[in-house]
């Protein structure tokens, strides 16, 4: 190979890839409007994005998987913990994370900013992003569930409990979150029917409950299985 051939390899390689990249960029710009629902991108959502940047949230949390890995991804945070859950964590992190081995700073975010943040997160959660993250995917989670039942030999209800994010807040035998109460003995307090009702509408059972309704998170079968499993814990 001569230096001249090497030069042509450089030139053609660079130009072809650059042109393809710019072409795809042009097309992406065009399609993002639909994929991200730009019609719903209100001024409040933008204000939320500004608040998100003002407090540098993104250097602890990821969003769409980018940012700091120190705290949970926020792409689907509204679906996960609900608006009230967000408000509680932002407003009083010292209470929300009192039992957690990792803390969140109290940055004195104003109420208006918190409302804007929630609008921002709600909009982000609707972006059509090829069903990421997997743990929030409706399609793929049932796969994790099946795997647990098949491989680990747990009951279907236990599999639902582990794969549907219950453990983000609740714990069993010391494993799991610290937001909600530990559920090791929940069966002694509630029957399967009561649990099922409570999970669908926590506020109905206890007006002060922080737990978001799981109506959209769980199918009827899953709800039934998880309630029956929890009722056996005495």
């Amino acid at each position: 190979m001569t230096k001249k051939i090497a030069f042509w390899i450089f030139l053609i390689g660079t130009l072809s890839s650059t042109l393809l990249f710019l072409g795809l960029t042009w097309d992406t710009q065009r399609q993002v409007a639909t994929l991200s629902h730009v019609d719903k991108l209100s001024d409040q959502v933008v204000a939320g994005k500004r608040a998100f940047e003002k407090y540098n949230c993104n250097d602890c949390h990821t969003i769409l998987g980018f940012g700091g890995y120190y705290a949970p991804d926020l792409t689907k945070v509204v679906q996960r913990v609900g608006e009230e859950g967000i408000r509680y964590r932002v407003k009083s992190p010292e209470l929300a994370f009192a039992n957690s081995f990792r803390k969140m700073p109290n940055l004195h975010v104003t109420d208006q900013e918190t409302t804007d943040l929630i609008a921002f997160f709600s909009w982000v959660g609707e972006i059509n992003n090829n069903d990421w993250p997997p743990q929030d995917s409706k399609k793929r989670l049932s796969r994790g569930e099946q795997m647990m039942v098949a491989k680990v030999g747990v009951s279907p209800g236990a599999a639902v409990f582990q794969t549907k994010g219950c453990m983000n807040c609740h714990s069993l035998r010391g494993t799991g979150g610290t937001f909600g109460p530990a559920l090791d003995k929940v069966g002694a307090r509630k029957t399967a029917e009561e649990i099922e009702k409570y999970v669908q509408n926590p506020k109905g059972g206890n007006p002060k409950a922080m737990m978001p309704s799981q109506k959209d998170n769980l199918s009827e079968r899953e709800l039934d299985e998880v309630a029956r499993f929890l009722a056996t814990l005495k």
């Binding site: 390899i9 990249f21 399609q31 003002k54 250097d59 602890c60 949970p72 990792r102 700073p105 799991g176």
Partner: protein, 443 residues
């Protein structure tokens, strides 16, 4: 040192090294945040986010200073002329340092643009742009006046212009978060897999040519092929960051395909380094400098090439995206490709700037091997933590903090390795600042 104006490079290196040490100290604090429970009162005033912003911005700052110093060292020898202006080089060094220090102090008080790695507020961005323009002007004028064009010069200048242009895409505020991330990667990805690779390839080719005595024609021929492959795979390869952001689905194909090819230029770089060392015409005078060259090529390939390849396939990335697997890749790749490149440049240029022909490299060797071993261990332990996270959180869906609980041990091991890294780095920095001529026992 053949030209007086090369001396300015020393001050760029001298500014870069302490910043590197500071970066590692903050890194240790970050690891401690993962390992221990930091009390709420400390978290409120000095959260992880602030420390992370400092850690990453220091990285960019010291590496850019290193590249600039390296450029100022190389340009006079390549163009066979003095620099256009050492005054401008001084001005730009001070401007960049002042901006960096202001930015980092600003982070402590919450003055930030709030976008990861691009936290520097807009007002300071403009100072950076002015500094970059002055730098390009100075380098460009030196080259244009000398009219001794070489491929190494062209690559260097091209890489630096590209670097400055891309920075502009990180400055504005984007309303749509999808578009925001789309162009954020023009800065981050096209820097590290585009313009920085060009600068690196040019500096690497220059030093290799000097220490092995292989003919310019041969070195420059391979340089063309390497940068061609870097840009061919790297441009569309940006697509591996567009899988899950709300961009069209075809990015899974384009990103997956082109980034699977990204290890090729790095592999080629390793092969031709080995080849040049084997076919060398000159006696290798300072073995440590070429230990650095080979270390750089090898860890560059492992960290950027292999680790990058492992998790850019969409099927894998779906589970590993945004986990500690990314952190493992980031640390190995940056260390291998850019930290070692800079240190190699320092070890090449510093003795010459001090007028030492053969330097005593006993301490330097200890530093090199300590840093490389510690970083390899960190790469592995971050990787273990990342795989645990991907499986527990993403595959099993057991929740973020459940996964973090299992990962804690591994982050502790990472922190321990980090202390060894710091020890290796301090040895290296002290060695570089106090280089002595070797006592020739045998001669």
């Amino acid at each position: 040192m053949e030209y007086r104006s090369q001396k300015i490079a020393y001050w760029y290196f001298a500014a870069a090294l302490p910043l590197f040490v500071l970066q590692i100290l903050v890194g240790l604090w970050l690891a401690a945040n993962y390992t221990f429970t930091i009390p709420q009162s400390i978290v409120n005033v000095f959260p992880f986010s602030t420390a992370r912003a400092i850690h990453t911005n220091l990285l960019v700052l010291w590496m850019l200073l290193g590249f600039m110093g390296g450029t100022y060292y190389i340009i006079p020898e390549e163009t066979k002329s003095e620099l256009y202006s050492t005054g401008l080089a001084w001005f730009q060094l001070i401007a960049l340092l002042a901006t960096g220090v202001t930015a980092i102090v600003g982070f402590l008080f919450g003055w930030t643009q709030g976008r990861p790695l691009l936290e520097i507020p807009m007002a300071l961005d403009f100072v950076v742009v002015i500094g970059a323009l002055v730098f390009l002007f100075n380098v460009g004028m030196t080259m244009f006046k000398a009219r001794n064009w070489t491929v190494i010069q062209g690559t260097l200048l091209g890489g630096l212009v590209f670097l400055a242009l891309l920075y502009l895409f990180g400055i504005p505020f984007y309303r749509n978060v999808v578009i925001d991330w789309y162009y954020w990667w023009w800065v981050i990805h096209l820097w590290v897999e585009g313009s920085w690779e060009l600068v690196t390839a040019a500096i690497f080719a220059f030093i290799l040519m000097k220490i092995t005595g292989v003919e310019r024609q041969v070195v420059e021929k391979w340089l063309y092929v390497e940068i061609g492959l870097f840009l061919f795979t790297g441009m569309v390869g940006t697509g591996h960051h567009y899988y899950w952001i709300g961009a069209p689905r075809y990015w899974l194909w384009f990103g997956g395909f082109f980034s699977a090819l990204e290890p090729l230029p790095i592999l080629l770089m390793l092969f031709d380094t080995m080849h040049h060392v084997k076919e060398r015409k000159a006696k290798i005078i300072n073995p440590l400098t070429w230990t650095y060259a080979i270390g750089c090529a090898v860890i560059h390939l492992i960290g950027a090439g292999v680790w990058g390849f492992l998790h850019t396939l969409p099927q894998i990335n779906y589970y590993t995206h945004g986990s500690q697997v990314t952190v493992s890749h980031g640390h190995l790749a940056f260390f291998g490709a850019y930290a070692l490149l800079n240190l190699m440049t320092f070890y090449y240029a510093m003795p010459k700037l001090k007028g030492i022909a053969v330097y005593d490299d006993r301490r330097g060797k200890i530093g090199f091997w300590t840093m490389c071993s510690a970083m390899m261990i960190m790469g592995l332990t971050f990787g273990v933590a990342g795989v645990l996270q991907s499986y527990i959180e993403r595959v099993l869906g057991m929740g973020y903090m459940v996964a973090q609980g299992y990962m804690r041990l591994w982050m502790g091991v990472t922190m321990t390795a980090g202390f060894f890294f710091l020890a290796g780095l301090l040895t290296t920095v002290v060695d570089l600042f106090t280089l002595r001529p070797a006592k020739c026992i045998n001669s």
